[in-house]
Amino acid sequence: MTDSKKVIEIIKVMAEIIHENAQFLTDLDAPIGDNDHGINMDRGFQKVLSDLPGVEKDDIGAILKKAGMDLVSTVGGSSGPLYGTAFMKAGAAVAGKYEINASDFVAIMEAAVGGVQLRGKAEKGEKTMIDAMIPALEAIKKGVSEGKSPAAFLADGVAAAKEGVEYTKTIIATKGRASYVGERSIGHQDPGATSFTLLLESIAALY
């Protein structure tokens, strides 16, 4: 499905899409958070981008791990440790591999979601990125098990993530900063769920 080179390409697209949406993500964070999610993510992915030349020859596991470490050390806030851990765990899941297939991709996604839950202890329904990640993971798993093409199962994943984002509008946050505004969080979509969806779209864009 994917080699190291393509992973590098995907990460470039991620950085680009996050950069383009930085203001949008920050604006989403204003009413229910602290007005910085896009700024944080953009800072992180710019660092990841600038470090790509150094890992171009590495295996996919190493590339993802480096991205995770960069995110941990530049994003800060909640999303830094969460996305950072997600990428690092994803890297560990495919350590040493220069080429991955669909079931490796499922392993990556499972490791990423597991990493976020390990750090953040959020379940579905708490209005976090988890509400986009878990549905996306399930849709991708289903698609892969049905033998769908990467383009098809990634599209399923994106659709599920987007539904997850919509769902976050309907619920009260009980994790993260949005929990502080209580009922006022209803009607607003979660910035982290949104950024996750953008990242997944970045992958899908290359299939």
Binding site: T26, A30, P31, I32, G33, D34, N35, D36, I39, N40, R43, V72, S73, T74, V75, G76, G77, S78, S79, G80, P81, L82, R119, G120, E126, A173, T174, K175, G176, R177, S179, Y180, V181, G182, R184
Partner: protein
């Protein structure tokens, strides 16, 4: 956005530089980091580290010095610092007695500091932490992330810092820090929002006759909006919530009236006038009062009230000598 800055992207860097250039006799920067440490490392005591996003000045770097913190780590504006930065701070200040991290209860802060602690433990450094959660605006029982840490954190710095200075063990310093945390409660309000430089627009909008009650310290909206009221009524509302959370009656307290950044000191004194009267009427004895900017949110206009219920140990430690850029006690 009209601000006295250069590029928005340089603001954290230039702030840290401006601070260490102002107070070289107190603090220095670990090169290549946003970590500020005491200019003369103090050994033979537990080392204290705290930090958080920038934009809360003088917190936290202003509290580095004798009798308070050994290091402060500054993240981007309102964004918790990253683990590697915290780790650099821990390594620099670590003593045989160990390191205590004073963390404010935010998901991001807790995760980043704990990741740093893991890194330090891997290198054999003794690290422990306390998590400050003084803000009664957000109810700990309803929301699983619990109460936030706000201005009451400065009392933890002061008292745990004084305890560490006595040569107490990590366990003892942690115990007194937790005693402060258990006995301090705060609540905030604001009448204007603030603007994260890199975001370029305010965190919330508010009408000319409205105020936000229960705000945090990151420019985020509060628990609810209300029609603007007189200072005394606002004080009554905040104090009601604080006094409902712990029974302060008959005890001695330290009071902090903290300005959020743009509040004239005059107004903070007007606030203290009523706070003082209300406490007297409820048989709560004020032992010490601190009025000023201790934990700000950029140019937000508003204030928080913190009450710390004191015992003899905390009184002694609160009164112990401190000499830092932003908090001094002779």
């Amino acid at each position: 956005m009209k601000k006295i800055i250069n590029e928005a992207s340089q603001v954290e860097e230039q702030m840290v530089e401006g601070l260490v250039k102002a107070y070289p006799d107190y603090v220095k920067r670990i090169p290549g980091t946003t970590v500020v440490v005491r200019s003369d490392k103090k050994t033979g005591k537990v080392a204290l580290i705290s930090g958080g996003g920038s934009g809360h000045e003088p917190a936290h770097a202003g509290y580095v010095g004798k009798g308070m913190l050994d290091a402060a780590v500054a993240g981007a504006v309102f964004t918790s610092p990253t683990p590697d930065q915290v780790f650099e701070g821990i390594k620099e200040i670590a003593t045989d007695q160990g390191v205590l991290m004073v963390v404010k209860n935010y998901t991001g802060d807790v995760m980043n500091f704990e990741m740093a602690a893991d890194m330090a433990r891997d290198e054999g450094i003794k690290v422990d932490e306390v998590v400050v959660n003084d803000d009664v605006a957000v109810d700990g029982s309803l929301y699983t992330v619990g109460r936030r840490g706000i201005a009451g954190t400065v009392f933890v710095h002061k008292i745990a810092g004084a305890k560490a200075e006595t040569g107490a063990s990590l366990e003892e310093v942690k115990a007194v820090a937790e005693k402060v945390i258990a006995n301090v409660r705060s609540m905030s309000m604001a009448i204007t929002p603030c603007t994260v430089p890199a975001a370029g627009k305010p965190g919330f909008e508010i009408a000319d006759d409205e105020m936000e009650i229960g705000i945090g310290i990151h420019g985020e909206p509060g628990t609810h909006k209300e029609k603007m009221q007189k200072a005394d009524q606002i004080v009554d509302q905040l104090l009601d919530k604080i006094l409902a959370d712990i029974d302060f009656a008959g005890s001695e307290v330290a009071v902090m009236i903290n300005g959020c950044g743009a509040t004239p000191l005059m107004e903070l004194f007007v606030v203290n006038n009523h706070v003082s009267d209300v406490l007297a009427s409820k048989n709560i004895k004020v032992y010490r009062t601190f009025v000023g900017e201790y934990m700000t949110s950029l140019e937000m206009e508003g204030f928080s009230i913190s009450l710390l219920k004191l015992d003899d140990e905390m009184k002694t430690l609160l009164d112990a000598t401190a000499d830092t850029p932003a908090f001094k006690k002779l």
